[in-house]
Amino acid sequence: MVIAPIDQPKLLIRGEDTDPAGFFETVYQAFQQAQQVVGGSLDRFYSIDGHTIRLRFAGPALVPRITPALEHLATGPSSAPAFTVCLWDSASTGTNIPRPPWSGYVYTPRGDVYGYTNDRIYTAYHVGADVLNLLDTSRDLAIYCTRDARRLPSYETGAPLRTILHWWLRPYGRQFVHGGAVGTANGGVFLAGKGGSGKSTTALACLHSELVYVSDDYCLLATDPVPYAYSIYNSAKLSPDNIYRVPYLRSAISNADRLDTQKAIFFLQQHYPEKLVTGFPIRAILLPRITGRLETTLTPASPMASLRALVLSTMRQLPGAGKATLQIIEHFIEQVPSYHLELGTDLAQIPEVILGLLSED
């Protein structure tokens, strides 16, 4: 065991001599080595907001950990994808992630690695998930690697590649955000709030209604010309304590053997493909909050309440999220009204209330 020095905390931060591009290249060479070890790569293609994205796996280990959440966006092979993400894990390929050129206090919980992001190269390491993310914007090329695919936590398999997609899609005017969305083909509501606020309960309660589903937890937002939510993941997650509220989903739990330590994960493409849509215009922002009362109601909320809910929960999760993210979210909030969704215990009322709101002029 090597113990990194802690007596002199050190930030590898602005002004220090770092080489993000050199580190990217080193890690990319490791991916190529992993490919050679396993005898090639497995390619999967997905369409997000019109962009064809290629996931290039060195070996099969990560395929079942990454692709189920994206399966509803699967598309045919392309010889000229807009973006390629190279993925591998050390355990199945025998290829280690290159040693980091930094030491000491460089990580934030949201993944930033100070000193290793510049205008061209983005670097983030998610300590909890043990995932290194790199993007070279000049080549539309990203790298995603971890030490052991089998140990990826459920929140990572339920919403994989968050950081890389956030980075790559941002220049296209699309903002990765922490929030869900349900609605109709003509328009829907955006669900904002931190974990435990009731977003997933709301989204899943709508599966047995006229409403269609974009997300329970993360989606891609556009604000121009109209506010619009795009689906990224077909997954949903729910605290095991709340599964009794949606008994029709019990058989759809993908990680039933690990509910003692993980949230329940559902891949809706496998069970409710007809409810999934790629996106719709957003007509209102709802801020769910659990009341304990029977009825579900709506009360007007201030734009500031939405801003706090969205900014805090989005920025805390996305490396590099700063003023540009804040501005897109602010613009989004200016475009639509905000409401508190006072969640009652009778879940059947939730889609009724949302449909009622969407039916208003």
């Binding site: 930030l11 934030t108 919980p109 043990d130 030490r147 805390r316 700063g322």
Partner: protein
């Protein structure tokens, strides 16, 4: 505090926006999230516009009914707090320019019906603090990467 001192928002580490008479501020370095409402938001706007501390005091006195000393003390206290939180930093470039206009600003005070002055409060939310602050990783394995059990959520 010298009344001719000017400040600027400590960007890019600090991001801020004024919405509905309230300023929200995020210090991306410390991870803290702040809000200023009403008088506090106006003080922030004046500081952001490059006004010297004395100009801020005058500006607030023009808008609110309050004792000069009370307003001055409150402005100085808030400016100190904003500095301590690294949300603003002294801006020497603006100071000289501000000194020239100070007398004019002092004399342009107009007496109209004004709401009572209330001491501004810097609301501090630490929701983000634990999330943005550097994570103290002490142990690494033989590959150099943090040796931590994957967590779940």
């Amino acid at each position: 505090m010298t009344s001719s001192v000017c400040f600027r928002v400590n960007s890019p580490n600090v991001i801020q926006e004024i919405i509905d008479d309230e300023v929200i501020i995020v210090n991306l370095d410390s991870g803290n999230y702040y809000s200023l409402a009403h008088v506090g938001a106006e003080i922030w706007s004046l500081i952001e516009s490059g006004a010297a501390v004395a100009e801020v005091v005058n500006g607030i006195r023009q808008r609110y009914d309050g004792d000069h000393v009370d307003v001055e003390d409150a402005v100085n206290q808030l400016v100190d707090q904003l500095q301590q939180e690294a949300l603003i930093v002294p801006d020497g470039a603006k100071e000289l320019e501000s000194i020239k206009g100070l007398d004019r600003q002092v004399e342009t005070g107009v007496e109209t019906e004004r709401p009572p002055f209330e001491v501004p409060i810097l609301g501090t939310y630490t929701d983000m603090q634990d999330l943005l602050l550097l994570d103290p990783i002490h142990e690494v394995d033989e590959t150099g990467w943090p040796n931590r059990e994957p967590d779940n959520m």
